[in-house]
Point group: C2
Chain length 302, copies 2
């Protein structure tokens, strides 16, 4: 799965108050990412509100996005659901529409055991034939993937990669080496929590699943390319430049911040699905001020 490397950019899925996807705006967001040269596009991730959209709307979003991309960039599609049979159907939809892989979380209502998560993931991989990225996101799912479970899942045919939660920069090298030691060769190890990703990429992770990459694509791509060619200094320098954005992500969550950023950048003017509220005006002003500093300093939006 060579495409499971580099920068995977995760755009917002613009949708109206009733959960209907605005496919025109989605195509603009996605087209921009393909033109920028990202290595893959992550559709219907957490930023892409996958858990808040019906199966029909998820399908509409994927169809529109993949038509827009027209084979230029592989797409990874969020296929998580509370029921296993639903996740299977979403994976089958994604495969039929042309996604290159499925991003599967352990989203749950009742807390799940390791065996239950193992069966859930194995069933989806087996019944969809879609390459699966394990989406480890304890901040939303409250499920903890142990190294044992990751090792078991990584042996399942069709389970190809893992998107890890943010790793503390101090321990990222060790965590990465530990995980590398328990997964088969070629299994792709990825990072998220944007503010920690640069160090994890420098340490040798394969792929950065990036929220900011869906909006301020250029700087994220330059960080990834610097890390890939071993230029840790340049990767860190760029990362420091956008540190104010990481502060906002930590303060307001990346999800809430990118909705405000997308609006400020003129890329899409939508609100998140209720019950999630738009950020208050004060927070938006703060985000606008940080963005203005950045854009005058270093690079244009995108």
């Amino acid at each position: 799965m060579t495409f499971l490397s580099g920068l995977s950019a995760f755009p917002i899925t613009p949708a109206d108050a009733s959960g209907r996807v605005d496919v025109v705006t989605l195509r603009q967001l996605v087209g921009r990412l393909a033109s920028a040269g990202v290595d893959s596009i992550g559709l219907l991730g957490s930023t892409g509100i996958y858990m808040y959209l019906s199966r029909a709307e998820r399908r509409r979003a994927l169809e529109a996005a993949l038509e827009e991309v027209a084979g230029r960039t592989p797409a990874i599609a969020g296929i998580g659901a509370l029921r296993t049979d639903e996740a299977v159907r979403l994976a089958q939809d994604a495969k039929a529409i042309g996604a290159a892989a499925g991003l599967l979380s352990a989203a749950s209502y009742l807390p799940l055991s390791e065996d239950e998560v193992f069966e859930h993931f194995s069933t989806v991989a087996r019944e969809s034939n879609l390459p699966i990225v394990i989406y480890d996101n304890p901040g939303t799912t409250h499920f903890q993937f142990t190294p044992d479970l990751v090792a078991r899942l990584a042996k399942v045919p069709g389970i190809a990669a893992i998107k890890n939660p943010g790793w503390d920069p101090e321990s990222t090298g060790k965590l990465l080496a530990d995980q590398r030691a328990i997964v088969p060769p070629g299994f792709s190890i990825g990072c998220s929590s944007d503010w920690t990703a640069t160090e994890t990429m420098i340490a040798g992770a394969d792929i950065w699943y990036s929220v900011l990459g869906g909006l301020l694509t250029d700087v994220c791509l330059r960080i990834v390319r610097a890390a890939q060619r071993g230029d840790a200094g340049e990767a860190r320098r760029l990362n420091r430049e956008i540190a104010p954005i990481w502060d906002l992500f930590r303060q307001y969550s990346s999800f809430r911040t990118v909705y405000a950023l997308a609006d400020l950048l003129g890329l899409c003017h939508v609100e998140p699905p209720r019950p999630i509220l738009p950020l208050p005006e004060e927070a938006k002003h703060q985000i606008a001020a940080q963005l203005a500093k950045l854009t005058t300093q270093t690079h244009p939006a995108g």
Copy 2:
């Protein structure tokens, strides 16, 4: 809301592997509860797999159950959903079908702020006109209701009650008094986590939202009646008799245990929705052994 007192019994919602509700068996489960004289029936609670059923199936379940009950017992219906507009529609459905109240959780995917939960609950109450029971269940939702938020919500027209998570028997009196002090007179305070409920009822809670009450109804009803007439000794004696069941609930979760119990009692033979797996045979044997001891000791099933 005088019906928001006493024993509220929460049955399983039997459904097949595709999430289709078996309304014939549901009617049997519910009819049994109405005949036993419970104060209310809690349909589509966590035990009733509300988060794993489509809107259409939730409606089918409610219609069948309310037809079976035929006005004998008020019904409280689970109306939780990840999207606010969905929860509104589910509440409107429950109201139209004849539920007396809606049980609304803070189930979420993205972690919610207090303001977001406040808006979610207020919107559902306002747009449905269904009396709302706040369903505080951090074990599944990972949201913590603070006393401040409970006080704010209890003032919203239509928000009538709270179903609290289990309270440590040592502090239940203080927690109950603290909550009583911040809610309006007549606001119903309820308990759950069956193994803690007897002490909370003795301390003066209004209602026990009971998982075991959906199966071993008689003993739960006798505990509630003893607590209501101030006979703490008898309530505690009965509670001690079923302590082995509480051990099973703590070990395997009440949800997983009642699926096995319902099967052993011959009341319904279904598996939980995947990804939740049936308990292993060893656990079922353990449950069967405890149940056999109980039924020879004290009371017949039901």
